[in-house]
Symmetry: D2
Subunit: 325 residues, 4 copies
C-alpha cells in the first residue's frame, strides 16, 4: 500500500473491558490506582489518566471478563474512509458503532481476529495534569500502549506495518530468527502496539504512562497497604526491551495493566530496530529477574465481531522463555 | 549539672498552635498536606504523620495565631521530677497541665520565655506507616524538629546543652565568632531544636520528616494545583546545614512548616559540630539560592505563662545574612 | 505552502557553540554534567546524552562565546532540496557545509537572522542508554529543544509554522493578545523550538531531556559539591508552560543549558494550544517562584552568515514579566 | 546486668571481609557500587560511604571468603574495660588487636561463635557527604546494620539484649511463638544487628544506608549495564519488617550486601516491638514478592578466634518460609 492511500493512524487511544463486578473494579482502578472518573453510567465507568483529555478505559459490567475492543485514533475522517476501503478489499468485517463522546467509531475485525476500532471525532475535556491537588494514588498519566498475544507474531506485525504504517522499534527472535515478540509504533515512542507470541488473539496487557519510577513504587506500596499484594504480578523493574521502568498488575477480573515510564523516542526516519534473543536474561527485565509463568500464559479473551469471544488459537511456536519462575 | 541528675529528654514531640479559622487550617493541613486526623473536637484538630503513633500537632481555633507550647517527650516520670527540681532551682514558672492522650504535662517557661512542655505518659495509636493506601497528599511522615527564633542564640543554646543535655550538631557564626544559629539534638539526628537569631522568642518553624525528596516536590505541585503557590515560601532545595532536602510553607495563619528529609546521624560520642560562616552562600541552600526576606523576619508569637503572648525582644545581633531576596 | 511541498523536519538535532576555554567547558559539560565525548579534536569536543546516537553539542574553542548554528534533522535528501527552493524563493542566504559525521549540511540564515542548519545523513553510533555503568553525573539523556530570543515572537512563530510546518503547543500573550513567547514542535512533544521575546536573535537556551526529576536535583548537588553554585541560574522547579520539571544552568561562557523532563505529548491533530497570560505567576514556575532578571536579559549571540555575529535588535515589546527577582 | 555496669555500645561500625581476588572486589565495590577508598595497602582496601567519617568495610585478599570480624563502636575506653570484665565473667575468649586508624580493638568471640570487635578510638576523616561531585555510582551513604545467621535466634537475641543493652524492634515467630528472626538496635534506628535462623554463625549480610529509593534502582541499572545482573539476588522491594526499601546483591566472593533506606525511628522508651508471623507473605517483601532460596541458604563463614573458620551448626528450627522461589 502506498503511503498516500494509507490510513493515517495517530496513536493507540482506548480500550473497553467487560468486568464481572463493577464495584470491585472501581475499588481497584479508582480507589487504589487513583484513575479519574470522567463519566459514570449504570453499569459503566469511563476512566482516564491525568494527562488524558478523553476517557481511555471503559469498564462495562457484564457476566464476562473480556475485551470488547481496542481503539486507535486516526488523523481525520478521510482516514476512516480509507479504512473502509481496506476492510472491503481484504474482506474484513466492519460496521459503524458509537461510544460516549465518540459518535463515529469504525469497528473492524483485523485478519487475526482482534476487535479494533478507529475514530477521529472525540469530545475533549479539560485535563487534570496540573490539578495536582486532585491526583489520587500513584497518578496514572496517559494511555501508552497495548500488548496483544497472537499465534503468529511476524505475520501480524507485517500486516500492521504494511497496511497501517506501523514502524518497528524492537523485536525478539529465537536462534532460528523466528519472531516471538515485536514492538511497533505510530506515535514516535517505543510502541503503540506490542505483539507477543502465544495462543490468541488475547489481550496481554493495557499500559499507562506514569510520571516517574517513584510513582510505580508507590503503586506497589498502595496495593500492599490495602492487603492486596497478590495484584502485583511482575516487577517493578526495568525492561531490557524499551528500557522502560515497569510494573504489571492484575485487576479483579484478571485483566493485566502495565504501569510504564521512561522509554525513548523513535522519530528518526532511519531508526534501526533493536533485536533481542528470546532467551537473553536481560531482555525482559534488564536486571535479570525471572518472569512468573502466569505472565506468559494468562491473557484476556476478546469479543468476536458477531458476539461471543474469539477462540484463542495456538501457533507454531510453543513454549515460553527459559527465564521463568 | 551532672549527667546523672539531668532530666533525660528523648525527643521533640508535639506543638499546639492557635489558628483563626480551623476550616482554613483543615484545608491546608488535611486536604492539601494530607496530614492524618487522630482526634477531632469542636474547635480542635489533633494531627499526625504516618509514622507518628501519637498526635504531633494540635490546632485550636482561637482569635489568635500563636504557639501555645512546644512539647518534648522524656524517658520516665522521674525525669519530670528532675525538671520540677530544675524549675524551682532556676525560678522558672511551671505547672501541671493535660492534653488529650497525655494526662500529665509539665508546662514550664524556659529562661528565654519559650513555653515548653514535658511529658512521659502518652496514649499510643496504631501507626499508618504501612497503610499506604490511606496516605494522602505528600505523606508527611513524623515530627522532626522545631526551630525557635531567639535574641541570644549562644546563651539559649548553652542552657539547653548544659541543663537538658542537648548536643551541638552545627552552628553559624559571623566573622567575630558570634552565634547566629545553632542546631542541637537529643535523638541522634541533626536536631530536635534549632535556634535562629532574631527578635523572640518566636516560633520560626515546625518540621516534619518526609519519605523522600520526591514527596517534597509533590507538595509544591499540590499547592500549585490548588492555586495556592503563595503558600510556598522557600525551596525546595538542599540545605548546606544538615544536608537535608527541604521546603518551607506557610499555613493560613502564617505558621511556618518545614518539610525535611535525608540528613545524617550524630550518635558518635566524638561527633564534631560543623561550623558555618553566616554569609557563606552554600550554608542556607547548598545550591546557592537566596532566601526571601520574610523567612528571616516573620515568625509566630508564643503564649506567655500567664496568658497573652510573650513580647518579642531583639538582641544585640541585628541584620540578616547578605544572601537574601 | 502546501503540506506536500513543505520540507519535512523531523526534530531539533544539534548545536555548535564557540567557547573561550575548552578545558573549562570540558570540566563543566564532561566532568560535572557527565556528558559523553563522542569525538575529540584539537580545539573541539563533540558531546551527546546517553540516548543520543549522534553528537548533539559541539564545542569549538575560539576567542568568542557564540552560537555557530542550530541544526534540525530532515526526513530525507528531498527535504533539503525543498529547503533550497524555499531559500531561493524567500531570498535567504544559504550554502552547503559539513561537520564530522554529517557530510551534507544545508546552512541557511532564517528571515530573523538565526543561523540554522538542516541535514539528513548522519553517522549513527551505538547509544549508551543501557550502559548505565558508564553514565556519569546526572546522566543527560537526549537533546530536547532550543529556545531562541527574538524581537518579534509572533512573526517568527508564523514563519516556522507556515513554512516549516511547526505546530503550536503553548503561547504567552499580554492583555492586548501580543505574543511574548511561543512553544512550537515537529516531533510530537511540547517543543523543538521555543521563541522568547527580547533583543535578538540570540540563543536563550539549549535543552536536554533528563531521566527524571531526581537527576535534576542531583545536578544541583553536583554543582554545589564542586563549589560552583553560581552556575545554577534558575530552578529547580516545575514549569507552568509544558508542565516539565526544569533547571537552568550557565556554562563557563554564559551559554544557558536547560535540563528538562516530564512534559506531555502533542500528537493529536486537534491538539488545542494552551494560552497563558504573561504575568500569571504560575506560568513560568508553577510553584510561583520568581525568575532572576539575568534569565530575561542574558543570551548568547549568534554567528552571522558571512562571519561575525548578528547584531541583536530589540522589538516593540519591551520590559519583562513582573514576577522577577 | 545493671544498666550502669553495662558497656555502652553506640552502633555497628565496620566489617572485615577476606576475598579471593581483590581486583574483582575492587571492580564490584569501587567501580560499580562507587564506594570510596579511604586507604589502600598491598592486599587490602579500606572503603566507606559518603557519610562515613571512618572506613566501614575492609577487604583483605586471602585464599578465603570469610568474615574476619564485625565491629561495634563503644562510648568510651571504660566501656572496653566493662567488656573485658564481661568476657572474663562469661569465659569468652578475647584479645587486643589493632587496625589502621583504630589502635585499640577488643576482639572477642561471643557465646555463639561470632567474632566481634569493640573500639572507641578511631581516626576520623572529612566526610564526602556534600562533595556530591565526587560521588560515584549509586552513592552508598553509611553503614547501617549487620545480619547474622544463627541456629538459636532467641538465645542469641536475649544475650545481646541482656548483656549489651540492645533493644528489640521487630521479630518473627512461627505459630508456636518460636523466634525465626529478630531485629535489635542500639542507635535509635530499626537495627544495628539482625539475627536470622539458620546454620551458623554465618554472616547473612552487611548493609549500607542509601540516600533514597532511586539510588537503589540505579544500582540495579548499573549492575545490569555492566552485564552482571546475576549479582542482584533479591529485590528491589519494600520490606514488611522495617518498612525499608531494599536490594540484596552478592559480591564476587558471595558476600551479601544489602542496600537499605527509609526505615523509622525507635527512640521512644515505650517503643513496642512489632511481631510478624513467619509465613506472612508481606513480612519479607511487603509487595508479596517471593524470596530466592539462595537468600535463605547461603551465607559467609566467620573466622574462629584461633584461626580457621567457625563450623556452622544447625539449630532446632529447620526449613525456610513458604514464600520462596
Ligand atoms: Ca527519592
Ligand atoms: Fe507493555
Ligand atoms: Fe528546620
Ligand atoms: Fe526550555
Ligand atoms: Fe538487612
Amino acid at each position: 500500500m502506498t503511503e498516500a492511500s494509507r490510513p493515517n493512524i495517530i496513536r493507540i487511544a482506548h480500550a473497553v473491558f467487560t468486568v464481572r463486578n463493577l464495584e470491585a473494579s472501581r475499588e481497584f482502578y479508582v480507589d487504589l490506582l487513583g484513575m479519574n472518573i470522567l463519566h459514570e453510567e449504570p453499569g459503566a465507568l469511563y476512566l482516564r489518566g491525568v494527562e488524558d483529555r478523553e476517557w481511555t478505559l471503559k469498564l462495562e459490567e457484564k457476566g464476562t471478563s473480556t475485551v470488547r475492543h481496542l481503539a486507535y485514533r486516526v488523523n481525520g475522517e478521510a482516514d476512516l474512509d480509507a479504512l473502509v476501503t481496506l476492510a472491503e478489499r481484504e474482506g474484513l468485517p466492519y460496521r459503524w458503532e458509537e461510544e460516549l463522546d465518540r459518535p463515529r467509531l469504525l469497528r473492524m475485525q483485523d485478519p487475526f481476529g482482534v476487535p479494533v476500532v478507529f475514530y477521529h471525532v472525540s469530545q475533549k475535556h479539560p485535563w487534570l495534569l496540573q490539578d495536582f491537588h486532585l491526583h489520587r494514588g500513584p497518578g496514572l498519566q496517559r494511555v501508552d500502549h497495548v500488548n496483544v498475544m497472537v499465534p503468529d507474531v511476524e505475520t501480524t506485525m507485517r500486516w500492521y506495518m504494511d497496511t497501517l504504517g506501523f514502524r518497528l522499534s524492537e523485536y525478539t527472535v529465537d536462534e532460528q530468527e523466528r519472531y516471538w515478540a515485536a514492538w511497533i509504533q505510530r506515535r514516535g515512542g517505543v510502541h503503540d502496539l506490542a505483539l507477543t507470541n502465544g495462543p490468541g488473539p488475547r489481550l496481554h496487557h493495557w499500559a499507562y504512562w506514569m510520571p516517574d519510577a517513584m510513582s510505580i513504587l508507590r503503586t506497589c506500596d498502595i496495593l500492599a497497604g490495602a492487603r492486596q499484594p497478590e495484584r502485583i504480578e511482575r516487577g517493578p523493574g526495568r525492561h531490557g526491551v524499551s528500557n522502560a521502568f515497569f510494573l504489571y498488575i492484575r485487576d479483579p477480573d484478571g485483566h493485566r495493566i502495565e504501569l510504564y515510564t521512561s522509554d525513548y523516542i523513535t522519530v528518526d526516519p532511519d531508526f534501526e530496530p533493536i533485536r533481542w534473543l528470546r532467551d537473553d536474561p536481560r531482555r525482559q527485565t534488564l536486571w535479570g529477574a525471572r518472569t512468573p509463568r502466569s505472565w506468559f500464559e494468562e491473557a484476556s479473551e476478546m469479543e468476536a465481531f458477531d458476539g461471543g469471544t474469539v477462540q484463542p488459537v495456538a501457533g507454531e511456536l510453543t513454549g515460553i522463555p527459559v527465564h521463568v519462575i
